[in-house]
Every structure is written in structure tokens, then in C-alpha cells.
């Protein structure tokens, strides 16, 4: 019993980690219908940005968020306005190819600048302490914090979409970029702002990623894979769906890991395929393609 509870708990925490990674991808997907293949690499880039900030200013990695998040947001705006806006439209291939190219460029630039050495954001005791509830059930503070951050970020963004004028503009531009112009919005600007928000969450995800594990320039693509699965399981355009999708993925993997450590990843992929087969639109889809 304790074993089962611990498995579910670890799965949920793992899901929190995936959720934090997936928010930015889900946003770009939901608003721009853009599959950002470089998403994982931007997460790693954010981790390096946090590393540079921490080293230069001697801050705690969590305080580095104050710099990393706005910096990533600006980068997101620039990337969308300068590059991706030219490529999005009816055909999703050009944008896909551009982000694929970005992925290669980021990985190799990071390799050139930072070498292949493994790095980590030193958060002192935070990354190695935990709490034990009962025999066999325990969890780390940091994974719990990751889960809470993911949930709070998603909650905040959902409120923002629902209540703010800009949030409504995001939803409108997602439904029909041409009509939005009639309402006085420049869809290029709106898209770029949406990407800035997505990249702000990538900044959070990257910093947490860097505290949670060691990273090197090659670790982007594996992060993309899980984030992508979480978004698809949850359904396009729904951030709560992404959180739910991450939980499904995390718990499926945790159960697999318990049965045999070789099966964890497989169970995650299997859950993804089953949901894709049974409910191709995902659990809680919001955007619909005309």
C-alpha cells in the first residue's frame, strides 16, 4: 500500500516537472499553432542564462528568475517578431523547419561557448533535502516546489487569458488572425507577445531544470519529447489539459519504473499512444481546427 502511494506520489511529482517544461510549448501551440521544435533547447538555453546570472551576480538560482524570466520573454518576442512571424500561416512546415534549425544552432552555440561540460545550478540544500511521511513514502522539497510552480503558473495564465484584454486577444488571434485586425490588433504584435509569455515560462522551466539535474548543451531534445507528449495527451490549447497530460505521463512512467526500471519510459509512451488512439483530440482540447 505504501509502495503504491509512493509510486503515485512520485508520478505526480514527475508530472509536475513535465508540466513546467510543457507550458511554453502548449502556449505556442495553442495561440500560434506553432510546433516549436527548439523548445527543449530554449529550456537548456534558459538554464545556461541562469548559470551565467548566478555566476556573475552571486545570486541564489531562484533569485536569478528575476533576470532570466524577463530576458527570455524579450528573446521570445524577438524570435517571434523577427523570424517565426514570417513563417506561420496555413502551412505548418516552414515554422517547423525554422525551429528545427534554431534547435541545431542553439545546441552548437552552447557547445562552442560552454563546452560539453556538465553544469548545474547550485541551490544548496534545496536540491538534496526532502520529507518523509511514513515508512516508504517520502518526497523531495524541490520536486514539490516544481509541481507547485507549474500549477501556479498555469492557474495564473488561465486567469490572464480569461480576464485580461490582452489574454482575450491571444485567444482571438488563435481562432482567427485576420478577424483580429478588424478589432485594432496587429496579429504580428499579438503573436510576438504570446511568444514572450511562452518564453517567460521557458525561463522558469529552464531555471528549475538546471537546479534539478545537471545539464549540458545536448539535453534539449529529450525535454522536448516529454513536453510534446504532455501537450498532446492534455489536448491542444488547454493549459489545465497540459497539466493533466503531464500527470498522466508522469504517473504512467512511475508505475512502469516500479514494475521494471526499463519500462518506465515505455509506459509513458504507451499511455501517450493509447490516448492518441482512443481520444486523438486529447483529454481537454480547447482550440479546434476549422
Amino acid at each position: 500500500m505504501a509502495n503504491l502511494l509512493d509510486t503515485l506520489l512520485q508520478g505526480t511529482l514527475l508530472g509536475g516537472r513535465y508540466a513546467l517544461m510543457a507550458i511554453g510549448l502548449s502556449l505556442a501551440f495553442g495561440v500560434m499553432r506553432l510546433v516549436n521544435v527548439a523548445h527543449g533547447d530554449f529550456i537548456v538555453l534558459a538554464a545556461y542564462l541562469a548559470l551565467v546570472t548566478v555566476n556573475a551576480l552571486g545570486l541564489h538560482p531562484l533569485s536569478a528568475l528575476l533576470i532570466v524570466v524577463p530576458a527570455m520573454a524579450m528573446l521570445g518576442y524577438a524570435v517571434q517578431r523577427g523570424l517565426l512571424n514570417r513563417a506561420i500561416g496555413r502551412d505548418i512546415m516552414p515554422a517547423l523547419l525554422i525551429t528545427f534549425g534554431l534547435s541545431v544552432i542553439i545546441q552548437n552555440s552552447l557547445l562552442e561557448v560552454f563546452s560539453a561540460d556538465s553544469r548545474r545550478l547550485q541551490a544548496g540544500n534545496l536540491s538534496s533535502t526532502g520529507v518523509s511521511f511514513a515508512d516508504g513514502i517520502s518526497m523531495g522539497w524541490f520536486p514539490l516546489m516544481t509541481l507547485a510552480t507549474a500549477a501556479l503558473t498555469i492557474g495564473g495564465l488561465e486567469q490572464f487569458f480569461r480576464r485580461s484584454r490582452l489574454g482575450r486577444a491571444f485567444r482571438a488571434v488563435s481562432d482567427d488572425p485576420e478577424i483580429v485586425q478588424l478589432m485594432g490588433y496587429d496579429p504580428r504584435h499579438v503573436h510576438a507577445l504570446a511568444m514572450a509569455v511562452a518564453f517567460a515560462t521557458v525561463g522558469i522551466a529552464g531555471t528549475f531544470f538546471g537546479i534539478g539535474t545537471i545539464f549540458d548543451p545536448a539535453l534539449g531534445p529529450p525535454q522536448l519529447l516529454f513536453a510534446f507528449e504532455a501537450v498532446i495527451i492534455g489536448g491542444m490549447g488547454s493549459l489545465w489539459g497540459t497539466l493533466a497530460g503531464s500527470m498522466v505521463l508522469g504517473i504512467a512512467q512511475a508505475i512502469g519504473f516500479r514494475i521494471d526500471p526499463g519500462w518506465g519510459i515505455l509506459f509513458g509512451h504507451a499511455a501517450f499512444l493509447i490516448i492518441l488512439a482512443v481520444r486523438p483530440q486529447g483529454l481537454f482540447p480547447r482550440t479546434r481546427d476549422a
Binding site: L14, D117, S127, A218
Partner: protein
């Protein structure tokens, strides 16, 4: 050179003086004259994981290749002639399929004379296989010999025709680890962290790996099974180790996975007395990435600046080579430096002894007859029947300790049970 099998004193003397001149690069006129005689360029292909998760293994390659290019700027002197040497470096991107591809390119397009390959079975095996297939001589290193030999379907006695490998074996690391563990009182319960890759499968193998040997010494191993590399969650393994009350941790995870594991283990209150881990803890950067939690972790040592060997190419001692690396790169020395250097020592030595450089089989014969005192110890094939393609180099045990010096951690040699020639500095201390 002095350990080479003698082939008549006159030839050897000629080679020696030629090598000396080539290395010194001072007799410019003479070497230019030699250039005129020989138009043929010797091409060496080098495949290593320059990028990707295995990249720390190839960290020293740039430095070593640069040093070789400088050393051979006037060519490599062979039998009184000087041959220009071209070193073509290819990146496996830590991907076995890519490693095989670039190896095929080197053989078929670049028409290399000799293949050199290094760093984990994921690199050495596909490249060696490709060479065997194309009948191209290949010298391989930095992978325990069992995954290299058995992982490629090698049969004792028959072995391989064109591919040769020098490194230590699982018997050495098991012997070293057990000897380290015996020096401290524990309950002899061991947790094993073996991934689903060439190394993990070899280490965890029920008949050829850790389990049978450990059982003989009274250790009981808990092995929850093979996991995928880049796993995000190790709570299942941690739970299993805790249930078994393991006081010793061992395994062969890749560096990012060990960090994830170790942090999750500490979060969940699992802190073994001893953690002797291969692969993940070889590099100072990986240990530094653990912050203060890296103190007391132990690992295998293939090469350190305190090894008592010298280079046959430059005459540098281990300490001098490590110092040259540190001053050239501004980074702390790392174990692969010695092997990257030794790979070129073995290659140069074999080429110098080759009877007909145009014949791959002749180069192969020269490799097979290698008996050379390199910077990583003696490399001699044919000493380990029935495995004629394998030569073993010495392996010691080391522990990472916090240092007050220039770098955060230093690797202290704590066990030489398998290689008594290596000086020991201290004994294993429990993790506190």
C-alpha cells in the same frame, strides 16, 4: 620504442635516430629532403563523441590532436623517410548509428590508413565493426574490454582480424571496488544502478558481470533492472535499495543520470556509506556539479597525473602532460587525456614498424605485435589468451575529496590492488 620486439639492431638504430629528428623538428633541411622523396600522406581517422551526453569523454581530444599535429608538423619518420600525417577527426555525436556512418565515411571517402576510436562501447563498437567489415586496421580504447569484445559478438580464440583494443576489464574494476569496500566495515548489501546500454548490460550481466563475482566475496547485490539513459525518476531504484538496506552503491550511469539519482536519493533520505560509481564520476565537472554532495564518492581511475609512466612521443611524464593540458585549456585535468595521448602513441609505434604502409594487413600485423610502454602503462597484445585483440592497462581506485587548492575536488588514489605499480595516497573513507 625500447620495448618494441627487436627486428635487428641496424634497423632499430635507424628508426630511433629518424624518430628523434622528426620529433625535434630541428633538422629542417633534411626533413624537407625527405618530404620530396615521399609524396604519400598517412591518414589517421579519429572517431570520438565530441558532442552529446558522452562528450566529457572526448574533452581532451582537441588538446591531444593539436599536440600531435604540432609534433608531426614535419611528418612522421618511418624507416628513414618522413611521411606527412593527416589526422581527420569525426564526431559520433554520442550516437552509435552516427559513429558507424562517420567511420564508413572515413574509410571509403577519406581513404584513411588507420582508424583510431575512443570513448565508451557506444562509440568503439560500431566503429570497430565497420573497420572489421572493410578490413581497415583499427585501434580502440576507453571502454572496458568485455563490452568491446563480447558486445561485438567476439569469439574467444578466433577474435577479430583488424580491430584491436586496449583498456582495463570488468575483472579489474570489480576487483578494485571489492578491495575498496573490504577496507570498511559494512553489511555487504550493494545497490546496483545499471542502465540499458553497452556498459550497463555488461556490468549487470548475471554470468559475466558484477553479480557472480560479488556473490563469491559475500556481497549481496540488489539490481532492480536496466533503465533507459536520461531517466528523470529514480524513486523505484531508491526504494529498492532502501528496502534492501544497501550500504554500498555501485553502477555505471551516465553523468546526468547519476546527478538525478544522487539528489533524489538524498531527498528521500538514502545515503549509503560507500558510493563507487563508474563512468559518471570520472570527470571533475560531473563531481563539481553535485555541489558539496560530491565529497567522498569513489570511482575507478584509469589514469592520473600521479601514474608513474612517460610518453614515448614527447617524453612527458603524466604530471607534465596534465599540466600542459591545464595550462592550454584552463581546465582541471581529466582521465581521458592519458588515453587520447596513448592512442596516438600506439598508432605511431605501429606505423613505424609497418613493413609495407600500402597494405592494411601489414599495418594490422604491426599493431598485433605492439609492446609499448605508453603514458597509460604497457600496451601489449597477445598477452591475454584467448583474446588476441585485447591489451590491458592498469586500473586503480580513487576517491573524490574536497580540496583547498585551485580546483574544488581532487581525485585521491585509494586502491591499487589490481595495479601495484600505481602509488596509493590514502585509504577509502566513508561518505559523511
Amino acid at each position: 620504442m625500447s620495448n618494441r620486439k627487436a627486428r635487428g639492431p641496424s634497423r632499430r638504430t635507424v628508426l630511433k635516430s629518424a624518430a628523434a629528428i622528426g620529433a625535434a623538428g630541428s633538422a629542417a633541411n633534411w626533413t624537407t629532403a625527405l618530404h620530396a622523396q615521399s609524396t604519400r600522406t598517412l591518414k589517421l581517422g579519429l572517431v570520438t563523441p565530441r558532442t552529446g551526453p558522452l562528450a566529457p569523454f572526448a574533452e581532451a581530444d582537441g588538446f591531444v590532436v593539436e599536440a600531435m599535429r604540432k609534433l608531426w608538423v614535419n611528418g612522421l619518420a618511418i624507416g628513414g623517410r618522413s611521411y606527412p600525417v593527416e589526422i581527420i577527426v569525426k564526431d559520433s555525436t554520442s550516437n552509435p548509428a552516427r559513429a558507424a556512418d562517420v567511420a564508413a565515411d572515413l574509410i571509403l571517402k577519406d581513404k584513411i590508413d588507420l582508424m583510431l576510436v575512443s570513448s565508451t562501447p557506444e562509440t568503439t563498437n560500431p566503429v570497430s565493426d565497420q573497420c572489421e567489415l572493410e578490413k581497415k586496421p583499427c585501434i580502440s580504447t576507453v571502454a572496458p574490454w568485455q563490452p568491446w569484445f563480447f558486445g561485438r559478438g567476439g569469439k574467444p580464440g578466433t577474435g577479430f582480424d583488424y580491430t584491436y583494443h586496449f583498456f582495463w576489464g570488468l575483472e579489474d574494476i570489480i576487483g578494485t571496488f571489492v578491495s575498496m569496500w573490504n577496507s570498511l566495515p559494512t553489511n555487504k548489501m550493494v545497490g546496483g544502478l545499471f542502465p540499458n546500454d553497452g556498459d550497463g548490460n555488461a556490468w549487470g550481466d548475471k554470468t559475466l558481470g558484477f553479480p557472480p563475482v560479488l556473490a563469491k566475496d559475500g556481497y549481496k547485490i540488489t539490481d532492480p533492472g536496466r533503465y533507459q539513459n536520461l531517466t528523470a525518476d529514480f524513486s523505484a531504484q531508491i526504494q529498492a535499495f532502501r528496502d534492501a538496506k544497501a550500504e554500498i552503491l555501485t553502477g555505471v550511469p551516465i553523468p546526468p543520470d547519476f546527478t538525478t539519482f544522487w539528489n533524489q536519493a538524498l531527498q528521500k533520505g538514502f545515503r549509503p556509506k560507500i558510493a563507487s560509481v563508474g563512468k559518471a564520476l570520472l570527470f571533475p565537472a560531473s563531481v563539481e556539479a553535485l555541489g558539496d554532495n560530491g565529497n567522498g564518492l569513489s570511482t575507478e581511475v584509469w589514469w592520473t597525473p600521479t601514474y608513474p609512466f612517460k610518453s614515448t612521443l614527447t617524453g612527458q611524464s603524466c604530471r607534465e602532460l596534465a599540466a600542459a593540458y591545464e595550462s592550454a585549456t584552463g581546465k582541471q585535468w581529466t582521465q581521458p587525456i592519458g588515453f587520447a595521448h596513448a592512442l596516438f602513441e600506439v598508432a605511431a609505434d605501429a606505423l613505424k614498424r609497418t613493413k609495407d604502409l600500402g597494405q592494411p594487413a601489414a599495418i594490422r600485423d604491426a599493431i598485433a605485435a605492439t609492446a609499448l610502454d605508453t603514458i597509460v602503462g604497457k600496451v601489449e597484445f597477445g598477452k591475454m589468451p584467448p583474446f588476441k585483440n585485447v591489451a590491458k592497462t592498469p586500473l586503480a581506485g580513487g576517491q573524490w575529496r574536497r580540496s583547498s587548492g585551485k580546483y574544488k575536488y581532487e581525485l585521491v588514489i585509494i586502491d591499487n590492488s589490481q595495479a601495484p605499480a600505481i602509488p596509493v595516497a590514502d585509504k577509502l573513507k566513508p561518505i559523511t
